[in-house]
Amino acid sequence: MVKFILGLITVVTCTLIGKKITSKYLYELSFFECLLRFNLHLKQNLKFKRDSLIELLDYKCNNEDFCTVLSSFKLSKSSMQSNSELYFPSWTSIEDRQFLVDYFNSLGTGNSDSEIENLNLYDELINEKLCKISDKSSKYSNMGQKLGFSFGMAIFIIII
């Protein structure tokens, strides 16, 4: 009986570990979806209210990492010190970080026409990124869970 319960706990734990390892793709997806919505918010602002960038960086969304990135960017812009560091989530690659730096540094540097063109370009780039992440997510996220479960079952059998 004890062996059975121990085995069951092992299966559940391994499945959860497998799921956690591959859940980064879901975090990435959620983050860049927020970025896409933020980009759309900027475009809508340009067509109507034309609020300043500092005000727009108070944008709220359901991804905590993205909100923190916006706050850190706002702080770096508001601060008189030019080398304030931006926050990047731990799962971001060097390529992702450079993409974010380029994106936020490109905002607010031109008139409305050039700003719209810039945002339209980033619309396409963010959508491309989302497609790649979505592909990886569908390929690997299920695999992680299955591998974890299989590994857990293997240990369960050994225990039994």
Partner: protein, 283 residues
């Protein structure tokens, strides 16, 4: 105030005079401050300079890192800051299809501080039984904007009138920083044509306050207001009445008695109040 400057520059500037009227920041040249030390108004140069790179950074902070949000005022050569300072921008004008697109390669900024002199229009108000249409004239930097702002407030609070401020550069209201009276409305950043025509239709004002009448379009807007039964308080640059009447567009609306009185200011005080017979004699 001056939240777009570094703490170092702010400290230097605010410690130079008791009251500051104007700051001129020129790339690679000493900063010049004009102010009052309690006795007289004069300018002095500070022992600090900034380079072009710092000037660009100041500009970006001034427009809250969003050039698009100040695009229309930038094309006219100025930006109004969050606290109402009017910042004139000098640099290279970019033109496309004969119209100004933007300004780049900034070389200098001229920052003018809005001043509130509560009650400065009282000497005029005491001579009036009712509100009248009034043109305030003086050379630059003699207090026209401060005077008409206070006059608008007095018309609202003392005479109980609905006062509409057509505030083309947000110098009159300064984004709500100044008391414009209990029954006043403000249209900010709109030109006089829009402000007058739509303001009269939408706000039903008793009097419209506006700053710096310059050209025929401004004069036409004022005539429209007068013909609609709305009083107007405005300002114009002129050394004196004779000088004013040399301006073709302005002299025509004065000849038509659009204004009931013309007030000449000299160093923030009323020098003379002209009535109809004074300018009719000069025509």
């Amino acid at each position: 105030m001056l939240d777009f400057l570094s703490n170092r520059l702010k400290t230097e500037i605010f410690s130079s005079f008791a009251t500051i009227y104007e700051v001129r920041i020129r790339a690679d040249k000493p900063i010049t401050v004009k102010g009052c030390d309690g006795i007289r108004v004069y300018s002095k140069q500070l022992n600090c300079k900034i380079d072009r790179r710092e000037l660009d950074q100041i500009f970006m902070r001034l427009c809250n890192h969003s050039i698009f949000s100040v695009e229309s005022s930038l094309k006219q050569g100025f930006i109004t800051s969050k606290y109402g300072e009017r910042v004139g921008v000098c640099g290279e004008v970019v033109i496309s299809d004969r119209s100004v697109v933007s300004i780049k390669n900034f070389t200098s900024l001229c920052i003018r501080f809005p001043n509130c002199a509560y009650g400065c229009s009282d000497p005029l108000i005491k001579t009036l039984q009712n509100a009248v249409s009034c043109l305030v004239i003086s050379p630059p930097f003699h207090g026209k904007t401060t005077f008409i702002r206070d006059l608008g407030r007095a018309y609202s609070d003392n005479f109980g009138l609905n006062v509409l401020f057509v505030d083309e550069r947000d110098e009159l209201g300064c984004n709500g920083s100044f008391n414009l009276g209990k029954s006043s409305d403000v249209i900010r950043f709109a030109n006089k044509e829009f402000g007058f025509y739509n303001g009269i239709r939408a706000y039903n004002p008793d009097v419209i306050i506006t700053d710096e009448i310059m050209d025929a379009t401004d004069c036409k807007s004022i005539e429209f207001a007068k013909s609609s039964g709305v009083m107007v308080v405005a300002s114009a640059h002129a050394k004196n009445l004779e000088n004013l009447l040399k301006k073709k567009d302005l002299s025509s609306i004065i000849k038509n008695n659009t204004f009931d009185i013309i007030v000449l200011l000299n160093k923030f005080k009323i020098e003379k109040i002209y009535k109809e017979r004074d300018w009719l004699n000069l025509f």
